[in-house]
């Protein structure tokens, strides 16, 4: 066969057919032809039942991670909280999964599915823990694995946390393709899929997201066993939205209807995610608003036609926290609880520390993940890397932190505050995107769909549509 043209435009024009071959899903069957698509049908027909997922995951030593009560951190929160406040803080130790993070759950399903469909290998585009998770699961399944990373700036300087993830992927037998900053990573990704015929182990497929449902389900079951009740609040670090979506769906499947789900991201407002210069001015590589907000308001700009990660459907609140807060709490976890974990996974812990102080002492708040730590992926290299890059690192009030310019370590734990984002504004933004992309005149089915997408009633959606239309 003659080699297809390799230039950017030619390759990108083949995206749709390459994706179809690399996912084995025909997304058109879920489309209505307008805004609406049948999300639950997609999850049902291409995902797995909860029981199937548990069996898949337990067979490869994924899941059933312990829940730990953080009594000393709770004591610290209570010392900062008003009288009678300070909910008990718990953490699900997802770092005890084979690859060191909850991403093993997503990868277990994706790799199982790839093997079942007869693919020889899997590819994932990720600079996060998902790479190691796919590599680990591919190693168990005997499949080949390629991880494509955005890792370096134009001076060839690698973000220490991402460099460590590359090392781990290679240690688990994967081929790692590292790139400089830019969304054209997708171009190389498509080329690799086309060249190898491997499965696209995207983070956003129904099986990937459904894989996280076991996490939410386990939390409810473990709580009932341990405390005889469901947790009051579960906090999820939010980046691409899959962690929150899957966890919330699992809680619902367990019948934990009264548990509130709160998303938390590190505030990186003002930093452009595709900027070469800003790339190494970030002291966190995921779990931040640079992913969290765009993926929440426009889930379908991911690497699949319809993303299964739709966090605005499930989020009760969305809060931000600073880089300095996360580093402080990571240190607290080590020095007070004897648990050394990677900082990025502690985004939701920093938020939970602040949120606990709003809640009565007899309530419970669960942080649903930890991640592994090691060289590069630790607060000390992250902070010294920040200093080397001219970032001001000092004690102070974290509210004065300017992403890309400073990391302000709280001078007292009482300064750690979770800042609420305007969820309604994000929901209007999602509606705006749909009006622009599909139609200015939504059908009744579309209104119903938008109500589900925004976790609102149809009346609110209709009013919001009119308001948004007036601005377009």
């Amino acid at each position: 066969m003659a080699k297809l043209p390799q230039d950017y435009d030619s390759v990108m024009s083949r995206t749709q057919e390459v994706m179809k071959a690399a996912l084995g899903i025909d997304y058109s069957q879920f489309e209505s032809g307008s805004m609406a698509f049948d999300y639950e049908k997609m999850m049902r027909e291409t995902g797995y039942s909860l029981e199937e997922m548990q069996n898949i995951q337990y067979s490869v030593n994924v899941g059933n991670t312990p829940i730990l009560e953080l009594k000393n951190l709770t004591a610290l929160a209570r010392a900062c909280a008003p009288e009678g406040k300070g909910a008990r803080i718990f953490i699900k130790d997802e770092a005890s999964n084979p690859s060191g993070s909850f991403k093993a759950r997503r990868a277990a399903n994706a790799v199982y599915h790839a093997k079942k469909l007869g693919y020889k290998g899997v590819i994932a585009a990720t600079s996060g823990n998902y790479g190691a998770a796919v590599a680990s699961q591919a190693a168990i399944a005997g499949l080949k694995c390629i991880i494509v990373q955005e890792c370096y700036d134009s001076k060839g300087v690698g973000q220490p946390e991402i460099v460590e993830k590359a090392r781990k992927c290679e240690a688990l037998g994967a081929e790692v393709v590292q790139l400089t900053v830019g969304p054209e990573l997708f171009y190389k990704f498509i080329l690799l899929l086309e060249e190898t015929g491997y499965f696209n182990a995207s983070l956003y497929t129904p099986f990937g997201i459904a894989g996280v449902e076991t996490l939410g389900y386990e939390i409810a079951m473990q709580f009932r066993e341990k405390l005889g009740k469901d947790p009051d609040v579960v906090v999820c670090t939010n980046a691409g939205g899959g962690n929150l979506t899957g966890t919330a769906r699992g809680l619902i499947k367990a019948g934990a209807k009264n548990t509130k789900v709160i998303g938390a991201s590190i505030d990186l407002s003002g930093l452009h995610m595709a900027s070469d210069k800003a790339f190494n001015l970030k002291s966190c590589t995921t779990g931040h608003t640079g992913f969290g907000v765009p993926y929440a308001v426009d889930p379908d700009h991911s690497d699949v036609p319809r993303s299964a990660a739709r966090p605005l459907r499930y989020m009760d609140r969305y809060v931000t926290i600073t880089q300095g807060d996360v580093f402080y709490i990571t240190e607290c976890l080590a020095t007070l609880e004897g648990l050394e974990k990677g900082p990025a996974g502690n985004t939701s812990l920093a938020a939970a520390f602040a949120l606990s102080q709003e809640m009565p002492q007899d309530q419970t708040i669960v942080v649903q993940e930890t991640e592994y730590t090691g060289a590069g992926k630790h607060l000390q290299p992250q902070l010294s890397f920040a200093r080397e890059n001219g970032i001001e690192v000092r004690f102070g009030d974290p509210k004065d932190e300017v992403p890309g310019k400073s990391v302000i370590i709280p001078e007292h734990p009482s300064l750690i505050k979770a800042k609420d984002m305007d969820l309604d504004r994000q929901k209007r933004s999602l509606i705006k995107g749909n009006l622009r992309k599909y139609t200015m005149n939504p059908t009744e089915e579309d209104y119903k769909y938008l109500a589900e997408e925004t976790k609102k009633d149809i009346e609110w959606v209709k009013k919001a549509v009119e308001e948004v239309k007036a601005t377009l």
Binding site: K144, Y152, V163, A166, E175, L179, T180, E331, T335
Partner: protein, 99 residues
């Protein structure tokens, strides 16, 4: 000279600056999209030569030979004295009264 079969790292420009998409910030637009990857060298070569490698998956890739037996040097960073202050502060708050 690097012998055929050695484990090496290569570098390659995937898109020149002028070939990049128009939706980028200026700083990214003005630099090429570069790639690094590793594999077994398919023919004897010198550092700096254009070479072909075979990855662990058996995939072939070309690029400039930059390193033989590449290894990682990332570490635990330099000392951040502030972390010791945090330890002292929170241990005092939580356990201070029990001294």
């Amino acid at each position: 000279m690097v012998k055929k079969g050695e484990w090496v790292r290569i570098h390659k420009v995937i898109l020149k600056a002028e070939e990049r998409t128009g939706k980028l910030p200026e700083d990214t637009q003005s630099v090429p999209l570069e790639m690094w990857t590793k594999g077994f060298l398919l023919a004897d070569a010198e550092i700096g030569d254009e070479v072909e490698i075979e990855s662990v998956n058996g995939r072939h890739e070309t690029g400039t030979l930059i390193e033989m037996n590449p290894y990682y040097t990332h570490d635990f960073g330099t000392c951040i004295p502030e972390l010791l202050q945090i330890d002292k502060q929170v241990r005092e708050i939580v356990f201070g009264g029990e001294k």
